[in-house]
Each structure stands twice: as structure tokens, then as C-alpha cells.
Symmetry: C2
Subunit: 249 residues, 2 copies
């Protein structure tokens, strides 16, 4: 592991990269302890604060964890699916908001991916997944539910559908796509009428999943996507007309 002290790049960034590469290459294995900060400082010929900045960079990516105390230090972290989920959701959310990704593009991506899960989910869903879906459908029918809570329940419902595929990698990849949509979905105001419509579709989907009818799930997801986009467009249109009114007034 070496760095170039003459490079214009931050020393801490270089050190972080060197260690990260070692982890990716398998030179440092899970739960292995890195040398102490003092030893690393000595090795790279930099000061301890510089090493610390490098370690914090790695910690931010969940690549290492640190423990204080006598036998403490920095350890290569086993990257868990849950940790990766959280990061992916944050990244995806920011990506959508900062790049002004349109509702349609995000929605298309989400449903395309979700439909990819449908056949596997039809085949492998467990009673647990079905139970979660039914429970969320029930929650979505409750009067007095805020729009935020409705959206959150929607996310849980769809995650159950995705998790039903019984493929952790698939679930991980989709977590970002589904959850990153939530801020966009939250802009929609769900009327009693539209909630009824969505709950009906969700019920049909749950039935189809229970019946292990992949074709039907796919068709229902297409319908749900179309309906969601219709709702979003009507919100945009309503805003537009309000704007025009204010202009003429």
C-alpha cells in the first residue's frame, strides 16, 4: 500500500483509496484489524490527523468500524445488506432530487424493476410476505391516514412484493428504486377516491401473488403504474392551472 506525496490529491483521499483497494482486492479480510493510527501514520509517513481523516472516509462507506479501548482499532467491516440498503436509499433519493429527475422517468424505472421481480415472487412468496401485504392493504384503507403514512405503507407493501422473490441481491437493488420514489410520491395528494382505486389494485395484486399468477401480477403492475402516473399528472396540471389563475388575477 503506497501513496504519492507529490500528487495534488489530498493525502487522506489517497490513503483511503489505498486501504479501500486492499479491501476490495481481498488483501484485508472481514474482521481483520488494521494497524493502529500511529502505525498507519508511520507507514504512510503522514501525521495521525491525516490518517484519521482517511479512516473516517472509509467509515462513512461502512467499509470499516472502529473500537476504542486497549484491544480497539479499525476493523474491516462486513458490509451488511441493511447497511448497503440505507446508503443506497440516501444516494438514490439525492440523485433524484438533485438531478431533477421527472416523476415519469423514476416511475418507469421503478415499475420496470418491480415487474422483473414478479415472476420470482409469484413462485417463492411465503405466507409472511402475503401477511405483510394484506396488513398494509388494511392500513391503507383506514380513514384519517395522512398522505405520508399512506405512502410509507405503499412502500412497505411493494417491498414485501419484492422481497417475495427471495433474492437478497434483487431486494437490495430495488430498495433504492422503490424508496427513492417516496419523496416524489409525497407530492401527490391522495383523495379518498384515488386511495380506494389503489387499495383495489393492491388487493388484486395480493390475490394474484397468492394464486402465484405471474402474468396477472405483471398486468396489474402495468395498471398501477399507469394510474400512478395519471395521478401525478393531475397534480401537476392542478398546480399549473392555479398558477395561471394567479397570473390573470
Amino acid at each position: 500500500m503506497k501513496i504519492d506525496p507529490d500528487s495534488t490529491v489530498d493525502l487522506s483521499a489517497q490513503i483511503a483509496k489505498a486501504i479501500r483497494d486492499a479491501i476490495i482486492a481481498g488483501d484485508l479480510i472481514v474482521d481483520q484489524r488494521l494497524p493502529s493510527e500511529a502505525e498507519l501514520a508511520d507507514h504512510f509517513d503522514v501525521s495521525r490527523p491525516t490518517v484519521r481523516e482517511a479512516l473516517k472516509r472509509l467509515a462513512a462507506q461502512s467499509l470499516i468500524r472502529t473500537q476504542r479501548g486497549a484491544t480497539g482499532g479499525a476493523f474491516v467491516n462486513r458490509l451488511r445488506f441493511e447497511d448497503a440498503y440505507a446508503q443506497q436509499v440516501t444516494t438514490s433519493t439525492l440523485l433524484l432530487s438533485m438531478n431533477a429527475v421527472s416523476f415519469d422517468v423514476a416511475c418507469e424505472a421503478r415499475y420496470a424493476l418491480e415487474r422483473a421481480c414478479a415472476p420470482l415472487s409469484a413462485e417463492r412468496r411465503t405466507p409472511d410476505h402475503l401477511a405483510t401485504m394484506r396488513a398494509e392493504i388494511h392500513r391503507q384503507g383506514q380513514p384519517g391516514l395522512t398522505d405520508e403514512a399512506f405512502c410509507a405503507s405503499d412502500v412497505t407493501f411493494h417491498r414485501a412484493l419484492v422481497d417475495g422473490a427471495g433474492n437478497k441481491v434483487l431486494s437490495y437493488q430495488l430498495a433504492g428504486a422503490v424508496e427513492a420514489m417516496q419523496p416524489l410520491m409525497n407530492m401527490i395528494t391522495f383523495t379518498a377516491r384515488s386511495r380506494e382505486e389503489i387499495v383495489a389494485l393492491h388487493t388484486d395484486i395480493a390475490d394474484a401473488v397468492e394464486a402465484q399468477d405471474a402474468t396477472r401480477i405483471d398486468a396489474l403492475l402495468v395498471k398501477l403504474e399507469a394510474y400512478t402516473r395519471l395521478l401525478a399528472h393531475s397534480v401537476v396540471a392542478a398546480r399549473q392551472s392555479r398558477k395561471n389563475k394567479e397570473k390573470t388575477a
Copy 2:
């Protein structure tokens, strides 16, 4: 933005979280300059090194960038799709290797997602995408190509297919799934015979994409997935039998 100095959590982690939350909430907008390190240290009532550790954490997630000089400082970074790609690939790769995800599970996820792109790609692919696919097919047919180079070309081919869908969000989500497979694919030794087979399938896929025949693309991807898994299994089997031989010897 506040932190709790009595918490057992690192101050730098708390500060990073506070700033990250502010960015996600939209309180800090793209390209906005954060207060200087000295000002932040003052605000949070900590020392400059502590603030710096927090900023490095955010830099590691591409949430901020820093500039030196008189008008320098830390700026909220526009998270670009390319930056997010890179991070997602790193995370996905580690996730697969550290959690001992089986070839079959990763492969299933990858092809499920890729098939989700197929209909869109059939509809929207441009001459550029087709050209890339043809070029990579040609490269894959060259004799003397290393297995690594063959795999890399395979990734480029499949990314062209995915990008053909013309949905940046979809491309982003799939980058991880496709590229993270590469280390696993690299374990396979591609014989001349198997390369021929793959090139033939790739050619058929390119033809189907050009003909905008979504159904055919889907069927070919299913075949390609089956063949890839077959190859992987034969490698595993070969290794197993060699092992047994050594044992008895």
C-alpha cells in the same frame, strides 16, 4: 443544526449527520457554500480537526466537494449519475464478496433486472447503442483475448443494452447489478467453444434489439442466463473433482 456533546457517538459522525440531513431536507442547496471549517468548529463548539473529519465523511459520499484558496471552502455537490455509479459498483461488489453470495443468486438478480430493460431498450435504442453492441461482439470474437478482457467486453455489451432503455435511473440501478458480477464471472474460464456460443447469443440479441423484437430479446436473455449458469456450474464441478482427486492421491 445541533449535536449532543454528551452522546457516546463520535462528534464527527454527529456533525456529518447534521449536515447530511440538512442537505437531504433541502436546507442546503446544490453549489451552496458551507461555512468555513473555523466557523463550523465555532458553531458546533468543537475543534477544527473534528469538523474536518466530519467533512471528509461527507466527501466520501460525494455529498460535498472542497476547494482551496481564498474563495474556497466546502460546497454542496451535485450528485452526478457517474459518481453514484462508481459508488454503487464498489458497494455491490463488496456486498457480493463479503456475504458469500452465490453465483446463482447474483446471476438471477442480474438477468431479472436486465430483462426488465429489454422492452424499453427494444423501443428506444439508438444507432449508438447498436454500434457499441456490434463492436463488443467483434472484440469478443478476437482470438488471444484474455478472460478478463472478455468479461470486461461482456459488461460493456450488456451496459449498452441497458442504456438503450434511455432511462438514466434504470441505468444507474443496473450498473451495480451488472458490474458487481464481474469478479464472479472472472472465476470462469471461457473456452473457445463457450466463447463462440456466447458471441452467437450476443449476435442474436443485437439483431433482436435492432429489429425491436422485445419478446425475442427476453427469450435470448433467458437462454444466456441458463448458459452462463451452466458454465459456472461446470467450473465448480471441475474444481470439486480435482479436489477429490488430490484427496485420494
